[in-house]
Symmetry: C2
Subunit: 355 residues, 2 copies
């Protein structure tokens, strides 16, 4: 009897790695290309599955896992996060869990640099001048619509970038900014419980010299006060909720730019709107927003006049490139195949703490 | 008697370098901060001037030069271009002419990278999903709204960038893309009459290795066919008019992105709109547009549905940063001071061909 693999999400060309296998019965949610998988379809089709492929939208909880039955060997999600999976229950049933970390580092780092440039150049405002037909009457003066510059130059040689969350993506952003744009100094605030990373920082600094002059761990008030461009790349959860609040934003420079590619909950949206409106900071570029996706005409950041001109909001698309999503799909398929074949996944979660 | 300097444009803090000099009579257009200088004011006030400071909006033609009189020693423009100045007449009167090249290289290169990222990620479309309240109903699927990726990765290691116009700004863009984003290959099309730049290219390549694998001069069809991201940084004029036309655009890849920070006239707007609408190319980011500033609700690029989602238009603000405009102002002031003092300008045009 063929092993059954249930696929709830669009895998692009990588799906053929599954369908080419004669020994598998591959059941795909038929509207995966443009519609999220309904829970009813998942519950009905998951019965008897050896492998299950999901995205972060499908909750794999007790109900789904029990519906699958005792033959389930692998759950593979096309995401970095795994909050949607009941890991203790999967571990207790010896189900391997695959996910896709690391591969999206460069795509998200590109997005962070884009948002930094868009927020500093205030593209919401400048592009709307064109579309609203205001360009012909625009009075050109040397400082009209001028903005803080990301890159350093001979006549402006110092630029400090700050990071809240200094993992792989932050380091990829730093590489772009130092080697590409000549940013001269970097600071970050480590998690309170984290041990000092002296060796790692020395190695990073060595690799980015002579462009980068300094890389330092600092406290939150210093991070706020010294950053020309501040990148939030911290994970979500209670420990980081509203770390960027009114008192932090009040300490920032009026020419500073805030970018969030981490989690929306880290930044207090109401405080940010106030900071933008009252000019405590220059601009903001957000790929993630508190309470997303419920962000729109009534949300203070994209909607309010005096704020929207300074605040770019993109709907959580940092990793949304053809190349990266294709690699995430490939890895997701390889993970589920390894799992149903009883081999170790290429990128599997360590479930040891629950076993 | 004090020497008179007439200032038509906003110089920011650099103005004090003029006003602090007791031996000068500095006459400033009183609304310079937000309004272009009217020609009538210029003609009235320029009489008897030793020095004249303008931006590209003030035509310094025979009428102005004659109104100034024989004491005019220096014209200093806060711009790279000098089409607005009657150079032969100024040369014949031994007037020095100052301008501000080079200083804006980094600001414009930043803008070019920003436009490349915005056009590839289609930010007109994605940000409008948020402002139009479409985010809550957005169906997340792995390839929804995915885009070509600028940076290379281990699983997508080749990216070719092309340049039409390969001067200082293009080279500054290339440095950002190779060292910052891991772009692997670069091509450019030289002017037809230009001698091969073998030594320069070898030196550039050496400086960008190992990230950059190749740098080659190619013909226009190859530039079109091979560029993943194409940067137009050519000057205007008849020689470059519509070099990017329908036949060029038809040769480009459907995933390719066009960026123009050079001159609007190089790109045929009608052909570009067609290319975007019919999917010959992926997207476009424009800081300059044919017929600017008359670009708005009736112009095909920002206005037409099926085009505007793929085409970012910024109203010629590539160099508009605080740092760069301040340096342009400083240089403009130093130039006019040197000129009225009978010294050589820090950055003066060579008028030898007219003398």
């Amino acid at each position: 009897m063929k092993k059954k693999i249930v696929v709830c999400t669009d895998l692009g060309p990588a799906l053929s790695l599954l369908t080419l296998r004669d020994d598998l019965d591959v059941v795909v949610w038929p509207h995966a290309v443009d519609t999220e998988c309904p829970r009813a379809w998942l519950l009905e089709n998951v019965q008897g599955a050896s492998g299950l492929v999901v995205c972060f939208k499908e909750r794999v909880d007790g109900e789904v896992i029990k519906a699958a039955g005792s033959g389930l060997r692998a759950v593979s999600t096309i995401s970095v996060g795994y909050d949607h999976l009941d890991l203790p229950l999967l571990a207790s049933r010896n189900v391997q869990v695959g996910y896709t970390p690391d591969v999206l580092t460069d795509a998200v780092a590109d997005s962070a640099v884009m948002l930094a440039l868009m927020a500093s150049r205030r593209t919401n405002l400048t592009t709307s001048l064109v579309t609203s037909n205001a360009w012909p009457a625009f009075q050109w003066t040397p400082f009209a619509l001028s903005a803080p510059q990301l890159s350093t130059t001979l006549f402006s040689p110092k630029r400090t970038v700050g990071f809240l969350g200094f993992g792989r993506i932050a380091q990829a952003v730093l590489r772009r900014l130092t080697l590409g744009f000549g940013v001269s100094d970097a600071i970050y605030t480590p998690r309170p419980e984290a041990p000092p990373q002296v060796m790692r920082d020395a190695e990073l600094l060595r690799g980015l010299m002579p462009n980068l002059h300094s890389l330092r761990a600092v406290d939150m008030p210093t991070l706020a006060a010294d950053s020309d461009f501040l990148f939030v790349l911290a994970p979500g959860g209670e420990a980081t909720r509203h770390l960027i609040d009114e008192s932090f934003l009040r300490r920032m420079k009026p020419t500073s730019v805030l970018v969030n590619n981490g989690r929306g909950s880290v930044v207090d949206s109401t405080a940010l709107a106030k900071a933008l409106k009252e000019g405590w900071i220059w601009g903001a570029g957000l790929d993630v927003v508190e309470e997303e996706p419920h962000v729109g005409v009534k949300h203070v950041l994209p909607a309010e006049q005096g704020v929207r001109e300074k605040c770019v909001v993109v709907p959580h698309l940092g990793s949304a490139t053809h190349e990266t999503r294709a690699e995430m799909a490939r890895l997701t398929v390889v993970n589920v195949l390894r799992g149903v074949d009883g081999e170790q996944m290429e990128s599997g979660l360590d479930l040891g703490r629950w076993q």
